[in-house]
């Protein structure tokens, strides 16, 4: 239960951090909030030879309005900052509603948005949120920088498109389509623990009341955040009545996921939760799109 030895660097600028990542390559790990990395090191599931601590790089912590009206969030922004940010509450209610579900207060005081996304836990909220809103991740290295679409970023179990010398420096959450509705629901054994299953839904109706845009993103059901592609196909162009929503939820549970069985839940229970949560999130998102107040 003690981490193996490593060399430690605490750069104060991003350039220094990127140089260290380039120099140490595969053996180096970036230390953001440490709320996932340090437990895995304590268990010796991870044994990096070098830690590059990003906590002294103060200018990676910010929440700004993007030119498209969405949000640009610095990678080292702590969960608690996003949770308590009036800007997030006003301009991105989906993110605001999601934050309290991430870990516990002590974890949110330390954990960072960039760290959570880079860690890519299949049961984590933020990777699935990024896919629901078609967000982007900015990756920087000493070689330069690039934007990666969330749909291309999460490549497998705890695996991302980041190269070994790249750091996430910023995430971009584009604004939801005008007139759209959103919802987020998860089921966890203890509030704040990793969810057994969680679902994000974003949808928009056209003038005739048919579904013009829909994204259903799920977590806890596979090796990364997953879109319910079949369910989304069922809904596009349709009137979203109870029957359509029930058909989509059934499609999501039966065709879009092949969930694992583990000590926390059986595969059958996870499928059941997908069905229930897709139904609930679509119903809530529809109500919000219609301008109705929705309470949790």
């Amino acid at each position: 239960m003690k981490p193996p030895p490593f060399d430690y660097y605490a750069p104060e600028t991003l350039d220094e951090a990127l140089a260290l990542m380039a120099q140490h390559g595969y053996g180096a790990k970036a230390l953001a909030g440490g709320q996932s990395l340090v437990p895995t090191m304590n268990f010796r599931l991870a044994a990096p030879s070098v830690l590059v601590d990003l906590n002294r790089i103060l200018d990676l912590s910010y929440i700004r309005t993007a030119s498209d009206g969405g949000l640009l969030i610095g990678a080292m922004t702590r969960h608690a900052q996003a949770e308590k940010s009036p800007k997030v509450a006003d301009t991105y209610p989906l993110l605001h509603a999601t934050m309290p579900n991430i870990g516990h207060p002590q974890i949110r005081n330390r954990g960072t948005l960039g760290g959570s996304i880079a860690h890519a836990d299949p049961a984590a909220e933020l990777p699935a949120l990024l896919r629901a809103v078609q967000g982007r991740i900015k990756a920087q290295s000493a070689r330069g920088s690039r934007w990666i679409d969330a749909d291309d970023f999460f490549t497998g179990f705890f695996t991302t498109a980041l190269a070994e010398d790249e750091l996430i420096t910023e995430i971009h959450l584009p604004p939801l389509p005008a007139g759209s509705g959103w919802a987020m629901q998860e089921v966890a054994r203890r509030h704040g623990d990793f969810a057994l299953v969680g679902v994000f839904a974003v949808l928009k109706l056209d003038a005739s009341g048919r579904c013009e845009h829909v994204r259903i993103s799920m977590f806890g059901v596979g090796d990364g955040p997953m879109l319910a592609e079949t369910a989304m196909g069922v809904l596009r162009g349709e009137k979203l009545d109870d029957d359509a929503i029930a058909t989509a939820a059934e499609a999501a549970a039966q065709k879009d996921v092949d969930p694992p069985s583990d000590v926390h839940a059986t595969a059958a229970f996870r499928r059941h939760l997908v069905n229930v949560l897709v139904k609930r999130t679509l119903t809530q998102a529809l109500a919000r799109a219609a301008g109705q107040e929705v309470t949790a």
Partner: protein, 159 residues
Amino acid sequence: MSQRIPITVRVNGVTYQREVEPRLLLSDFIRHELNLTGTHVGCEHGVCGACTILFDGQPVRSCLLFAVQADGHDILTVEGLAPDPDHLHPIQEAFHEAHALQCGFCTPGFLMTLKPFLEENPEPTDEEIREAISGNLCRCTGYDHIVDAVRIAAEKMQK
């Protein structure tokens, strides 16, 4: 050979200078280097909350930080909670009065979690209290007496 890194840390108002190996957890530094054994180590992977301390005023899990990361920072442990050796902090008094502990192993983590919570939320609802302590496990009390104690502590701290 492994690195040794000099750090300066302020704990409960006292400044300490030590050289640490990078892999030394802050929880172990507090207990073994500073002999402040009120900070308890339960799960050592961020689940139980027994090792909660205040890091620059914010409750965090000390088992998920390295001591070297505390260089230049201000820490409060349960030893620094009471105003003086003859008096308890109002939260400690309330825990005593409401029987909010049995074995006491988890108690320091609860106390350190609750101090900033009650300072920021002087009149919390039961739901807010339960959310605030959601990251602390107690295997004895069933939590009801802890929630009672937080209510009593909130009243005491208003006075």
